[in-house]
C-alpha cells in the first residue's frame, strides 16, 4: 500500500478513537501529508531508495520526549505551554530515518503512574469492547500504547523507567520493548529517574549515561562468542514471579508460552531470583528520590507555568507554583525528599541501592553469560547451567476496568502492578513485552528478558513466541 494510503487509514483511526485521549498534540494534516509525500517521492523515484523501514511512516512520540515541532508537556500543568528548543536524540534519529512525527502522546504526569490516569490533559482510555466499560491503558506510556493498538500510527516512542512501556503494551496487546540501559540516548528525554530511564540504538555524546561505541563493540563481541549457536536454547522461568496475586488467565498464558518454546525443542528450566521481593520496594524508594531531585527545576522561573506568588506565606520559595503538580507527582516528590533527608537516607536510599545490587546479582547468577558491562571475564557467567533468556508475565492481570482503578483505596495499590516489570529495570537488562493469545480471550503480555546487551537473543526468542502465539493479523 502506498504510504499516503497507510497514513490516511491511520488518521481515520485517530479520528475514530479521538475520545480515548491518547494524544496531547497532533500535527496538522497538510503538514503530515506533505512530509509523507516527500518520503514517497524519494522512495519511488527512479534512483530512489528508502532511508529506513520507518521512512514515511507515522511515529507517535510520548510527551516527555523533547520535540521542537510540538510542546513537550510531560502531561503536567507546569509544562502546559513548554516547547523545547531542541529535539531529543531519539526524535532526531527517527526524523533522519525519514519517520514522520505524528504528534505527542498522553501519559501519566512525568511518567509517574501505572494507568495513564494522572494527566493534566485527562486520562487515557482503552477502547471499550462489547459495551463493556473502558479499561486502563496502563502507564505511564498509555497514550503511545493505545495509538499503536488502534492503528493510529506505525509505531510510538515511549519511556520505560519501571515498566512504563511494557505494562501499557501488555494491557493494550501490543509489543513493548525496553532496551538495555544506556543503549538509547536519553538526551531530550525529560528525566524521571535517570538511573532507570530508558528510551528506542546508538551512542550519543550528549548523554553521559550513553554507552560508548567501544564498550558496545566489546560487549557484542564477548556475547557473540558465548552464544549457543544453532543449539537449543535454555529458557528459564523465575519462580518468584509466580505470585498468588497472578490472574489465572495470565498464569495459563505463561504456561502456554513455555510449552510452545519447549515444543520448539528449547529446554525449559525453573530459575530462582530470590531477591525479587525486594525489587518493588527498592524501586519505589529510588525512583521517587531521583524524581524529587529531577523535578526541583520546575519552579516557573525560566519556563513553564508560574504562579503569581513566588513564595508561600511562610516564605517557602516557589511552593505556590509547585503546588500545581498533580497529586501523584507531589506524593512521589515528598516520598523522595524524605528518603534523601539526612535522617532517612541510611535507612531508605542507601538500603534501596544495596537491594538494587542484590537484584542485579540475582539476574547475573541466572544467565549463562555474564554482564559484560561490569566484567570482561566469561567465567563470571553461570555457563552451561545458566539460561539464555527468562520468560515471565508483564502484568498480574489483563487490563483492569478504569472504574475499578478509581475505586482503589490507596494510590499505593497501583504500585503493585509494577512488580513484574521493575526487576529488569533495576538490573538495566533488555526486556520485551509481547501479546500472547490464549484461548478465546484477548492477549496477555509476556516478557522476554535477556542479559545486558543481549538484545539479539531476546529478539530471537520473541520471534519464536510471536510466530507461534501472537495475534494473527487481519
Amino acid at each position: 500500500m502506498a504510504l499516503l494510503e497507510i497514513a490516511k487509514k491511520s488518521l481515520l483511526a485517530a479520528e475514530k478513537y479521538f475520545a480515548l485521549n491518547s494524544f496531547i498534540s497532533v500535527q496538522s494534516r497538510p503538514e503530515l501529508f506533505g512530509q509523507i509525500q516527500a518520503s514517497q517521492e524519494r522512495i519511488y523515484a527512479d534512483s530512489g531508495e528508502s532511508k529506513s523501514s520507518i521512512d514515511g511512516q507515522l511515529i507517535a512520540v510520548k510527551d516527555n520526549i523533547c520535540t521542537t515541532d510540538f510542546p513537550t508537556t510531560c502531561a503536567s500543568k507546569l509544562l502546559e505551554q513548554y516547547t523545547s528548543p531542541f529535539d531529543a536524540t531519539v526524535v532526531r534519529k527517527a526524523k533522519e530515518a525519514g519517520a514522520v512525527i505524528m504528534g505527542k502522546t498522553n501519559m501519566d504526569e512525568f511518567g509517574m503512574g501505572s494507568h495513564s490516569m494522572y494527566s493534566h490533559f485527562g486520562p487515557v482510555m482503552q477502547s471499550a469492547k462489547d459495551g463493556q466499560p473502558a479499561r486502563s491503558a496502563g502507564g505511564s506510556s498509555g497514550g503511545s500504547a493505545v495509538a499503536v493498538a488502534t492503528g493510529m500510527c506505525y509505531a510510538a516512542l515511549g519511556t520505560d523507567t519501571g515498566g512504563s512501556v511494557r505494562l501499557p503494551a501488555a494491557y493494550c496487546g501490543v509489543v513493548g520493548f525496553k532496551p538495555s540501559y544506556g543503549m538509547l540516548s536519553r538526551w531530550g528525554v525529560v528525566a524521571y529517574a535517570n538511573s532507570l530511564d530508558t528510551a528506542t540504538n546508538g551512542h550519543d555524546d550528549c548523554d553521559p549515561t550513553s554507552i560508548t561505541p567501544q564498550t558496545r563493540e566489546r560487549i557484542q563481541d564477548r556475547l557473540s562468542r558465548g552464544r549457543r549457536k544453532g543449539q537449543r536454547l535454555v529458557i528459564g522461568y523465575p519462580k518468584e514471579f509466580n505470585l498468588v496475586e497472578l490472574d489465572d488467565s495470565v498464569r495459563n498464558a505463561w504456561e502456554t508460552t513455555l510449552a510452545h518454546l519447549n515444543s520448539q525443542s528449547h529446554k525449559i528450566v525453573a530459575v530462582s531470583l530470590p531477591h525479587t521481593k525486594h525489587a518493588l520496594s527498592a524501586y519505589y524508594v529510588l525512583a521517587p528520590a531521583e524524581a524529587s531531585s529531577n523535578l526541583a527545576k520546575y519552579d516557573g522561573v525560566r519556563y513553564g507555568y508560574r504562579d503569581p506568588a513566588d513564595r508561600s506565606e511562610d516564605g517557602l520559595l516557589f511552593s505556590p507554583t509547585r503546588a500545581n503538580f498533580g497529586a501523584e507527582v507531589r506524593r512521589r516528590i515528598i516520598a523522595g525528599a524524605y528518603s534523601l533527608s539526612s535522617e532517612a537516607i541510611d535507612n531508605y536510599f542507601l538500603k534501596a541501592q544495596s537491594a538494587r545490587r542484590i537484584v542485579q546479582r540475582d539476574f547475573s547468577n541466572a544467565f549463562a553469560q555474564p554482564n559484560y558491562l561490569t566484567t570482561d571475564n566469561p567465567e563470571e557467567g553461570r555457563g552451561g547451567e545458566g539460561v539464555d533468556v527468562l520468560i515471565a508475565p508483564c502484568s498480574l492481570s489483563k487490563a483492569p476496568f478504569l472504574e475499578d482503578v478509581k475505586m482503589q483505596k490507596s494510590p499505593l495499590d497501583s504500585y503493585v502492578n509494577d512488580v513484574l516489570t521493575v526487576p529488569a529495570s533495576l538490573a538495566g537488562i533488555p526486556a520485551i513485552c509481547l501479546p500472547v493469545m490464549h484461548g478465546e480471550e484477548g492477549p496477555v503480555g509476556m516478557q522476554v528478558m535477556a542479559q545486558y546487551g543481549d538484545e539479539e537473543t531476546m529478539w530471537e526468542v520473541a520471534k519464536i513466541i510471536e510466530e507461534g502465539l501472537g495475534p494473527k493479523l487481519e
Binding site: 516527555n64 520526549i65 513537550t72 510531560c74 509544562l79 513548554y82 523545547s84 528548543p85 531542541f86 531529543a88 538495555s180 540501559y181 544506556g182 538526551w187 531530550g188 528525554v189 525529560v190 528525566a191 529517574a193 535517570n194 538511573s195 555524546d205 550528549c206 548523554d207 553521559p208 549515561t209 550513553s210 554507552i211 560508548t212 564498550t215 528520590a289 531521583e290 524529587s292 531531585s293 523535578l295 526541583a296 527545576k297 519552579d299 522561573v301 525560566r302 519556563y303 513566588d310 520559595l317 516557589f318 525528599a337 534523601l340 533527608s341 539526612s342 537516607i345 536510599f349 538494587r356 545490587r357 542485579q360 546479582r361 547475573s364 554482564n371 558491562l373 561490569t374 538495566g428 545486558y452
Partner: protein
C-alpha cells in the same frame, strides 16, 4: 554492578594538554563559622538570675569590643573553619559547552543544561580538571584516584535545577595544608603555622541576582561555571587578622598556580545601602545530598598528578624567597607588593626580573652597580618599578596589564641613571615623557634630542655658575637676604650656627640645581657652593 558504570570520566594526561585561559579576577566568597564561647550557666533557681543575665550581656558586649580591637578575651580559644569558593580558570563551564564570561550582556551564555531545560544532561568538561588539580596540588592535597559528583538541593532563583552539583561523598582531593610564615602574619614563628585543609572539591557556580527594591533580576551567565570549594579543618585563631591572613595566603597560592580567578562577591542591598550575605548558613537546612545519577565517577589516570605537579609555577613562598634572596635583594615588603601586583597573568614579577637582567647585563657586573649607587640593582629596579613606574601608572589610571613601557625602555633609563649619564631628576621626568601620548622615541633618542645628559661641566664652569647665583639679585632680593644671613652667622659659634648655615647654603644648592635642570649631581654642586661661599663671605 550499576548500569551507570560506563559514564566514567577517565582523565588521562592527554585530556589535560590544554591552553591557559586567563580570566580577569572576579569572585571569592567565604563563610566563616566560629563556635560561640560556652556561656556560664544561669542560676534559674535563685533571684540572682536577672543579675547574672545583665552581667553576661555586659561581658558579651565587652568581648565583642575586644574582638574589634583584634584580641580575644582571656581564657577563650577561638577556632575557625573556612569554606572558600574560587572560580576555576577555564574558558568553559563545568558541565556544559557554554563559555564563562563576566562582561557579556546578561543571559547570553546559557546552554540548555545551564538553564535546566527539560531533557538536558550534564557532560563533564575535562579541561576544568587542569586548574582544579593545580589548586589541589598547590594546597598540598592528596588527589583521589576516584571522585564522584553529588547533588545538593535547595531552592533559589539563581540555581535553575534546584540543586548544585558538588562533591560531597567523595571529593577530588583531601588532606592538604597551607603554611603561614612571619611575612604572612605576625602570629607565625619562623617555622610557620600549618592550617589544615580538609577537602578540595569541584562544584557548580550559581547565577547572579541583581536585587533592587521591589524586583530581583537574574543573570544566568555564571550558572554552572566550575568552582573549587576549599574547606579547612577548624584551626585556632590567635587574633582576628589571622583568619584574613589565611584567606590572603590561599588566594595568593591559587593565583600563583593559575588555578583560579578570585575576587569578592557580596550582595548589594539597595534598600540598606550595605553589603549582606546572600545566603545564610542555616543550620536547619537539609540539603538531601544524592549521588548524581547522570554522572559517573571521575577517574584520574596514573601519572596525571605528577604531570600537573611538574608543570606547576613556583608558589608564593618560593617566589618571595627568591625575590628577597641574594639574586634580587628586595625587602619583604617590596617583594610582597610586586607579588600582589602579579595577579594572574599580568606578569609584573617577570617584568621586574627582565629589567634587572637587562640592567645587570648593561652594567657588566652587579658589583659595578653597587659601587656606583651603594645599592644592588635588584633593589634599585624594585624602587623604580614600585614607586616611579607604579606611581605613573596610577596617575594615568593605566592597569598593569596595559603598561606601555617595555622592559628595554625601563632598563635603559635605569642604566643611564646608574652610569651617571642622567640625574635622578632627569630620569623621573624622562619617565613621564615616555608616557606622553604618541611618544615613540627610545630613551637614548630622548636623552639626545632633549639634551638632558649630564654635561661634563668643569669645576671652573660650575663655580662660575654658582658665583653668579650667589651674587646676583634676580629673585627679588632673596639671594641677597640669604647671603646676608650667612654672613651674620659668621659671628655665631658652635654646632647651632653650623646647622643654620647648612640650611641656608642649601638654598643656593637648590637654586643652582634648578638652573642646571638637574644635570649635575647635587654632591658636586654642594661642594662648589661651599667653596664659592667661603670665597664670597
Amino acid at each position: 554492578m550499576s548500569p551507570r558504570i560506563p559514564a566514567i570520566a577517565y582523565i588521562c594526561k592527554s585530556c589535560l594538554r590544554l591552553p591557559y585561559y586567563p580570566i580577569p579576577p572576579r569572585r571569592l566568597t567565604t563563610t566563616t563559622t566560629t563556635p560561640p564561647p560556652p556561656r556560664p550557666p544561669a542560676d534559674f533557681e535563685t533571684g540572682e538570675f536577672r543579675k547574672d543575665l545583665k552581667k553576661r550581656l555586659k561581658s558579651e558586649h565587652k568581648s565583642r569590643q575586644s574582638l574589634r580591637r583584634g584580641t580575644f578575651p582571656e581564657g577563650y580559644t577561638v577556632t575557625c573553619g573556612l569554606e572558600i569558593h574560587a572560580q576555576l580558570n577555564c574558558a568553559r563551564k563545568l558541565f556544559s559547552p557554554s563559555s564563562t564570561s563576566i562582561s557579556a550582556p546578561p543571559n547570553t551564555h546559557i546552554a540548555p543544561f545551564d538553564a535546566a531545560l527539560p531533557g538536558s544532561q550534564p557532560r563533564l568538561n575535562k579541561s576544568v580538571l587542569l586548574p582544579a588539580l593545580r589548586a589541589a596540588i598547590a594546597l598540598r592535597c592528596r588527589v583521589n584516584e576516584v571522585s564522584r559528583f553529588d547533588r545538593k538541593h535547595y531552592f533559589y532563583w539563581d540555581q535553575p535545577s534546584g540543586y548544585q552539583i558538588t562533591q560531597f561523598y567523595s571529593a577530588l582531593a583531601n588532606d592538604g595544608c597551607v603554611v603561614l610564615y612571619p611575612h604572612d602574619t605576625p602570629h607565625a614563628s619562623s617555622g610557620g603555622v600549618r592550617v589544615p585543609i580538609r577537602q578540595v572539591q569541584l562544584e557548580q557556580d550559581t547565577g547572579k541576582t541583581i536585587a533592587s527594591a521591589n524586583v530581583s533580576l537574574v543573570d544566568l551567565n555564571r550558572v554552572g561555571a566550575g568552582l573549587v570549594e576549599i574547606i579547612t579543618a577548624p584551626f585556632d585563631v590567635p587574633g582576628v587578622e589571622f583568619a584574613s591572613a589565611v584567606m590572603k595566603k590561599l588566594q595568593a597560592t591559587l593565583r600563583a598556580v593559575g588555578a583560579c580567578v578570585v575576587g569578592e562577591t557580596r550582595g548589594w542591598d539597595v534598600e540598606r545601602g550595605t553589603t549582606k550575605r546572600l545566603r545564610g548558613k542555616e543550620g536547619e537546612v537539609d540539603y538531601r545530598y544524592m549521588p548524581d545519577p547522570d554522572l559517573g565517577p571521575l577517574v584520574i589516570a596514573p601519572g596525571v598528578v605528577e604531570g600537573v605537579r611538574e608543570g606547576l609555577p613556583p608558589l608564593p613562598d618560593e617566589v618571595l624567597e627568591q625575590l628577597t634572596g641574594t639574586e634580587y635583594h628586595l625587602s619583604v615588603k617590596d617583594a610582597q607588593t610586586l607579588m600582589m601586583w602579579d595577579e594572574g597573568e599580568v606578569g609584573v614579577i617577570s617584568y621586574y626580573k627582565d629589567v634587572v637582567k637587562k640592567v645587570t647585563t648593561a652594567l657588566g657586573t652587579p658589583a659595578a652597580a653597587k659601587e656606583r649607587k651603594g645599592k644592588e640593582v635588584g633593589k634599585i629596579v624594585g624602587n623604580w618599578l614600585i614607586h616611579e613606574l607604579g606611581g605613573t601608572l596610577t596617575t594615568h589610571s593605566i592597569p598593569w596589564s596595559l603598561n606601555p613601557l617595555t622592559t628595554t625602555a625601563l632598563s635603559s633609563l635605569i642604566t643611564h641613571l646608574l652610569t651617571n649619564n642622567i640625574t635622578s631628576a632627569t630620569a623621573k621626568s624622562l619617565l613621564s615623557t615616555l608616557f606622553s601620548p604618541g611618544e615613540t622615541r627610545t630613551v637614548d633618542q630622548v636623552i639626545e634630542q632633549e639634551d638632558v645628559a649630564i654635561k661634563p661641566l668643569s669645576e671652573v664652569e660650575l663655580e662660575e655658575v654658582v658665583r653668579r647665583a650667589v651674587t646676583s639679585d634676580d629673585d627679588g632680593g632673596r639671594s641677597v637676604g640669604v647671603l646676608a644671613r650667612i654672613r651674620g652667622l659668621q659671628d655665631e659659634d658652635g654646632g647651632r650656627g653650623g646647622k643654620k648655615r647648612k640650611g641656608l647654603t642649601s638654598f643656593f644648592v637648590g637654586k643652582v640645581m634648578k638652573e642646571l635642570e638637574g644635570r649635575v649631581r647635587a654632591e658636586r654642586v654642594d661642594g662648589a657652593v661651599e667653596r664659592v661661599l667661603r670665597e664670597v663671605v
